[in-house]
């Protein structure tokens, strides 16, 4: 074994804070250390060249660099190793900058610590073993679940001569909710007609297979190689099976049904309708009461179901304001009163849109304890505002603007993909900030309202984010390289207690019922090491973080 | 008075460390609680004072100790291992099985007065010490472990250096080199053996002879007592299957004992069938299998050190039984476990012209 140890001066950064010669003196005598040298800037072109030459010159079997954080230049130095035919995993980086040189003004102390850290790295590297990147064939095709705006957008962007998209829609038609919207807010651009156009392009796209009246039966496998079974709900039932490399869950959301909340009088009182009813009426061209007359006065009730569901859908206010525009256009003289609990008008152009919609026929009332009752041929609204209680207002028409709730019946998808559902029933992203459209299962993404109530604008950008992910990670004809530093279970030591299965949150471990031992699927494993610490038999090793590697680093550090 | 013999031995060791003959010594030492002795590897000369080359018990067999220090490599330190003859022999057997790297180890044995049963000592250390001191003085081993009482190799030299106490003048010992390594040690310390060993040899011979008698007598009785399947099963039926004997045994070096492995575990209905054949099945069924099986695995290497019996929670006469079997199996191949490092393990070699008495007469 011939270990080369190289200490980076990092310009003045390390050189001025650490007595590098002392470090060299301490490391030289260690067993198996063939050479110890300092260099002004190892991450520079010269630096990399220098390392490369050293590896050749001394026929090094292992490399240790004492420099900056592994988060800075680990990859840089691993690449150097690879070029020189030294397995990059026979390398260890000691962080003597961020966590040593920069944390104290006491040069002596910094030097002592630098020595400890470098020795620890040398001790650790001796237990490193070469690891080989494995490559697996991958299928570039994609399954998109949900034919709403998110699903359609993703499908259109992904589909191509080398990538077939399987677009699965539960209902009989594509388009989802937005196909009923005449216009979008805040720009009041045509929506329904636009969606129609999209649906046509989807249908005409030879690389998109559309399955309507179809549900997901099962999703097996892992990123790059999923096996899908779908079931047609039409009679006679038929199932189809195909393979894809990634899955996009765009199952959308549905408006909350106010029927069961008596105070709104929905389905009991004439001319009390929901936002969706109103969109459809508006789309049909005429806004009228049951009796065919245009409404003289309309009340729009915001925040319907917000209390019951416990969240604000952040779009109800906006589409309610859009309704004002519909009304102003189609029944200009009508009096419009908006009842809200909190007004939610986020974003760069929404405020402007709101202000434009105000006018002498438009009122906004912040209300509480609202009650809707029938009053001869009119509808009476009883409410309290900031000042006084039980005020009354009678109108011809009431539009209820309900919150959005997650689509039901996702269990088969959730179970077979092992993605998780938040307490409100929306799908959970892998990480709110750093991975908002990925899920805990690699290769399974979420877009649109399945992830939470969203405007069309946000839905579109999520769909695009997902496409970006897939286009860059699932390239036709290219193999995928799964994580190398994964867990491995020794068949001879495993006693089959399934402890590891219980703690693994990626479903990366399966049980071999014949041999009664656990087995890691190295393609699914993310290499966190949870199972390793959980296994009492010490039957599991996490590659590159084995017991001995960590232990000897520890031992040398506290020496 | 024997106390000072201990001092003599320790002075020798410390001197050797000063001269750099050894960097470290592997030697027994009393534990802080004072209720037992364990092996300690000492680098700091001063600590040798607290060691005891001839402790009253053998809690860990020295062969195991040497193995755990050198199994993974010779290391950079020259180590002197001070042990009893049976421990040196175990070390040699382990070397033959690649469990010991002898390169940097000097094996030093001492005339052995025997040791007390471990359990007796730990349950009452003060008394134990007194008893042992007396026993040493009077050369009376009736209080020692049964297997020590029938040990005919208590002065056998199988290491590099031997310390003879029998027949030595007050406070002095015989230093007997038994290998090139041993001679070098004596030379560098200018202790090249001139004096005659006659008095030592004489006493050793006497001791060995009457031990041999005792040994064969005891074995005869034992054979009566446990001979035959019935008796054998009865003797071992009290066994708790804790396998402490195997774990304490220096020459049972397997990482996972065959009898702890999956191989001995059957499917449920097999156990039922076995039970139904006999009406009753003692559970687990393989206690006797374990002991007989272990004999086939290690009896040719058994050094009759008695560690197994010390470790047995139900005081089965394991060591005595195994010493009896060992004499038989080793006799077959004119082999004595650990006597000689060069001697190949009987099971790793063969002679074309041997054991014909075992085969049917060919005609």
């Amino acid at each position: 074994m011939k270990i080369g140890v190289y200490i980076c001066e990092c310009g003045p950064n390390i050189a001025e804070k650490v007595d590098i010669d002392e470090v060299i003196k301490a490391v030289k005598p260690l067993d198996n250390v063939a050479v110890v040298e300092r260099f002004k800037l190892l991450c520079s072109q010269d630096g990399k060249q220098f390392l490369a030459d050293q590896i050749k010159k001394h026929e090094l079997t292992h490399l240790v660099v004492a420099a900056c954080s592994p988060r800075e230049h680990q990859q840089t130095f691993m690449d150097v190793c690879e070029q020189e035919g030294l397995n990059p995993y026979l390398f260890q980086l000691a962080n003597i900058r961020e966590q040593c040189a920069w944390i104290t003004d006491d040069k002596k102390e910094a030097t002592k610590k630098a020595i400890r850290l470098t020795k620890a790295a040398v001790a650790r590297v001796q237990y490193h073993t070469p690891l080989e990147k494995q490559q697996i064939e991958s299928n570039p095709d994609v399954l998109v679940i949900g034919g709403g705006i998110a699903g359609i957008q993703a499908s259109l962007q992904l589909a191509g001569p080398e990538r077939t998209i399987h677009l699965v829609e539960k209902t009989s038609s594509l388009g989802g909710l937005s196909q009923y919207y005449e216009k979008t807010f805040p720009d009041m651009k045509p929506c329904a007609s636009f969606i129609k156009g999209l649906i046509e392009t989807v249908k005409n796209n030879p690389h998109i297979n559309v399955y309507t009246n179809t549900e997901i039966e099962e999703i097996l496998g892992f990123f790059g190689n999923f096996e899908i079974t779908v079931k047609q709900t039409t009679t006679p039932e038929a199932t189809a099976a195909f393979e894809v490399g990634a899955v996009v869950v765009a199952t959308g959301a549905t408006p909350f049904n106010p029927e069961h909340i008596s105070k709104y009088g929905y389905q009991k009182i004439e001319n009390v309708i929901t936002a969706l009813d109103f969109e459809q009426m508006n789309l049909s061209g005429k806004i009228t009461l049951k009796n065919g007359k245009p409404p003289k006065s309309v009340a729009i009730i915001h925040c319907v179901g917000r209390e019951e569901k416990g969240y604000c859908s952040q779009i109800c206010c906006m589409y309610s304001i859009k309704f004002i525009r519909y009304l102003q256009k189609k029944v200009p003289s009508t009096k419009i009163t908006n009842f809200y609990t909190d007004l939610c008008i986020p974003g760069k152009s929404q405020q402007h849109f709101y202000e434009q919609s105000l006018g002498n026929h438009v009122d906004f009332i912040r209300m509480s304890d609202l009650q809707i009752t029938k009053q001869s041929d009119k509808i009476q609204i009883t409410y309290s505002n900031e000042k006084d209680a039980s005020k009354k207002l009678s109108v011809d028409m009431v539009i209820l603007s309900p919150v959005l709730e997650p689509t039901q019946g996702l269990s088969s998808i959730i179970e077979s993909t092992r993605i998780s559902q938040g307490e409100k029933g929306f799908l959970t992203e892998e990480h709110e900030k750093i991975a908002p459209v990925s899920t805990s299962t690699e290769g399974v993404f979420i877009a649109g309202c399945s992830h939470g109530p969203k405007s069309i604008e946000e839905t579109m950008s999520q769909a695009e984010a997902v496409t970006g992910h897939i286009l860059t990670s699932l390239i036709p004809g290219q193999k995928i390289e799964p994580e190398v530093k994964v867990s491995h279970i020794s068949e001879s030591f495993c006693i089959g207690c399934k402890t590891c299965l219980n703690v693994c949150c990626y479903g990366a471990i399966t049980f071999d019922d014949l041999k009664k031992v656990s087995v890691v699927n190295e393609v699914i494993c993310r290499g966190c090491g949870n199972c390793v610490a959980a296994c009492p038999s010490g039957a599991i090793t996490l590659k590159h973080f084995t017991h001995n590697q960590v232990y000897h680093e520890v031992k040398e550090a506290v020496q | 008075m024997k106390k000072s013999i201990r001092e003599t031995i320790k002075d020798f060791l410390m001197k050797a460390m000063e001269k750099g003959v050894f960097d470290a010594v592997l030697i027994p030492m009393k534990v802080p609680a004072g209720d037992s002795y364990v092996y300690v590897l000492i680098k700091d000369k001063a600590l040798v004072k607290d060691a005891d080359p001839l402790p009253p018990v053998m809690s860990v067999q020295g062969g195991k100790a040497v193995s755990s220090v050198t199994r993974l490599g010779k290391g950079n330190l020259k180590i002197a291992a001070v042990m009893r003859p049976c421990e040196v022999r175990a070390t040699n057997e382990l070397e033959k099985n690649e469990q010991v790297n002898p390169e940097n180890i000097t094996l030093i044995s001492i005339d052995c007065p025997g040791v007390l049963p471990l359990h007796d000592f730990t349950s009452n250390p003060e008394e134990g010490l007194a008893v042992f001191e007396q026993a040493e003085k009077k050369h009376d081993d009736t209080k020692m472990r049964p297997v020590c009482q029938i040990c005919d190799n208590s002065s056998l030299i199988a290491g590099d250096l031997h310390i003879g106490t029998l027949g030595a003048a007050k406070d002095s010992v015989f230093l007997i080199a038994h290998s090139h390594k041993g001679q070098e040690v004596l030379q560098t310390l200018q202790l090249s053996s001139k004096g005659s060993l006659a008095s030592w040899k004489k006493q050793v011979q006497e001791k060995v002879e009457n031990k041999k008698k005792q040994r064969s007598m005891t074995h005869k009785q034992l054979k009566k007592q446990i001979g035959g399947l019935e008796n054998l099963i009865d003797t071992f039926s009290r066994c708790l299957n804790c396998h402490n004997c195997m774990r304490a045994c220096p020459v049972c070096f397997c990482r996972l004992c065959y009898f702890d492995s999956e191989k001995v575990k059957n499917v449920r209905e097999d156990y039922m069938q076995q039970a139904q054949e006999k009406g009753t099945l003692r559970f687990p069924p393989d206690t006797t299998l374990f002991h007989i099986g272990r004999m086939t695995h290690m009896s040719v290497s058994c050094v009759s050190c008695g560690a197994c019996e010390d470790a047995c929670p139900v005081s089965l006469p394991v060591a005595q039984v195994f010493s009896m079997i060992a004499d038989e199996t080793q006799g077959l191949f004119e082999y004595l476990a650990g006597r000689n490092r060069e001697e190949p393990l009987p099971m790793k070699t063969f002679k074309e012209d041997e054991l014909h008495e075992m085969e049917d007469a060919h005609d």
């Binding site: 962080n95 104290t104 017991h547 232990y551 031992k555 | -």
Partner: protein
């Protein structure tokens, strides 16, 4: 007191790669000062920290052991830190029951943006350790 000054503890810090190690780096890049007694050991997730590492570290003579990971709910690997927390709680309890100074063990959640917190945690942990004094296991032969 002077005795206390002389003694520079050796404190192992098991840091998860995604949050706490990044947090520690941030402390450095923001040039925050904290004791050099901290010896970082990088692991991918706090859930990789086998209680045996802590036990061994302690028996090898570490004066203190810090385990730091992502905040609950923020684990890069979903739930790893919840398991880490349970294992840590158990080990700490074992230490307490055995009359070993449980103050030598510490668990802390440090995010990638909490350089400040990291510096603070390490500083006052070091002071705690200085008060307890050296790890007696260092000098024990019969371990």
């Amino acid at each position: 007191m002077t005795k206390k000054e002389e003694f520079t503890p050796r404190i192992l810090a098991f840091l998860c790669n995604w949050c706490s190690y990044a947090g520690a780096d941030l402390a450095g890049t923001s040039r925050l000062k904290y004791p050099t007694s901290i010896l970082p050991i990088r692991v991918m997730c706090s859930s990789r920290v086998d209680p045996l590492f802590l036990i061994r570290g302690y028996l090898e003579g570490a004066d203190g052991v810090l385990v730091a990971g992502c905040h609950p709910g923020d684990c890069h690997y979903q739930e790893g830190n919840y398991y880490a927390r349970r294992r840590f709680a158990m080990l700490k309890n074992i230490f307490e029951s055995l009359g070993l100074e449980k103050e030598r063990l510490r668990l802390s959640w440090v995010s990638a943006s909490e350089g400040q917190k990291y510096a603070k945690v390490t500083t006052d942990f070091t002071n705690v350790i200085k008060d307890i004094g050296e790890n007696p296991a260092k000098s024990k032969i019969f371990l």
